[in-house]
């Protein structure tokens, strides 16, 4: 059987016409040829900086990181999402009765998760970074609702009055979160791209 006939027989009925299919290898070969042709015409490879192409995080004059793929961290995003929402769920379960040190600890952990899993995205994928920030802001809002431990009723004379509790709905659930800028947001803005 001739190669052409083999190709024809391999094609599924109604599938793509034979002869049009490209593979990763053929594309890579053509990419090299295209670059050679472009440079022969007087192209200026690597002339642009990240600032030129609108990428955040790198100053003007610094060559763009042309060879780096910024992977869209789908799995990492899902994992971080899981962790972050785990924290929020935890806070909800405890009905805001978390102490300040615990809140700080959770904030640190959330920061760690974001740096570890989504840090690479902060360089080139600004929308993802914003997504992170919204998550962090949500957590910060949770923390902002509760500044300290819920004090036990103290009947001792001269004792401070109990701290006010967060507003609750009639069903006993916490009121909707107010949107507040958390302390982590400003900090995250300064994370350098890895």
């Amino acid at each position: 059987m001739s190669p052409r006939a083999k190709e024809r027989s391999a094609a599924t009925p109604g599938g793509p016409p034979p002869g049009l299919v490209e593979t990763r290898d053929t594309l890579r070969t053509r990419a090299g040829a295209a670059r050679a042709a472009a440079s022969a015409r007087g192209g200026k490879p690597g002339a642009k900086t990240d600032a030129d192409v609108g990428l955040p995080g790198r100053g003007p004059g610094r060559p763009t990181a042309a060879s780096q793929i910024t992977e869209f961290p789908i799995e990492a995003l899902a994992e971080a999402h899981y962790h972050v929402w785990g924290l929020i769920t935890k806070a909800l379960r405890s009905r805001w009765r978390i102490t300040k040190p615990a809140a700080d600890e959770m904030a640190k952990y959330a920061d760690l998760v974001l740096r570890q899993y989504l840090g690479p995205a902060l360089g080139d994928n600004a929308p993802l970074a914003l997504y992170c920030l919204t998550q962090v802001t949500a957590i910060s809002a949770c923390f902002a609702l509760r500044e300290g431990p819920a004090p036990k009723p103290d009947t001792a004379p001269g004792a401070a009055p109990p701290a006010p509790q967060p507003a609750r709905t009639q069903a006993g659930a916490p009121a909707p979160l107010p949107y507040e800028r958390g302390p982590l947001e400003s900090e995250l803005r300064h994370i350098p791209p890895s």
């Binding site: 594309l27 490879p45 642009k48 992977e71 929308p127």
Partner: protein, 204 residues
Amino acid sequence: MSFTRGIEFICGQRGTGKTKYLVTRVLTQEPRLLVYDHMAELVGRAPMTVTHTLEDTIEAVHRSPRGFCRVCYVPAAGASPEEFGVVSAIPFSVRDLVLVVDEVDQLAGTQQNLPPQEFKRLIHFGRHFGASIVACARRAADVTRALTSQARRVVVFAQSEPADIKYLSSLCGKRAKEAVELPDLSYLAFEGRIVTRGKVDPGA
């Protein structure tokens, strides 16, 4: 999303809302897309993997999961027909990809910047691979007729040049004349005989 979009062509004067339309109606809607952004105007407007070399672009597309591929190629050396040819061939190596090209008249023009052979193949045979094309330009007359004639949907933003209106009338019908009166961010969408008016969200 397979070949549901087909070929979509967007035209209009500068600053009338083409890019906003692209972001709100295409970049944030399509799960599998490859953007050729030689003007670097779309970077950061939607979650996409940004690449600067062809090899990285090919890798990024092939390493993407089956149902999700968002790659934006910003050529470091600016637009080049050879590179655009290779990018146009990528949808022939994977299935169900939407190729988005901004300022397509600079890559697939009529008098100058003639379209590479691969782009013509994509226009004519891309549907066998589930490939769609979304292309943007300021003037429809500057874009190769091979693309505009095959467009299933033509979106027209404000135009004022009489020659452009005449050309659009020959392409879409008499209602293209209404493009003169369109305010910014408003458009006319032509799909066969159906003409609809729309408006892009200014906050996008």
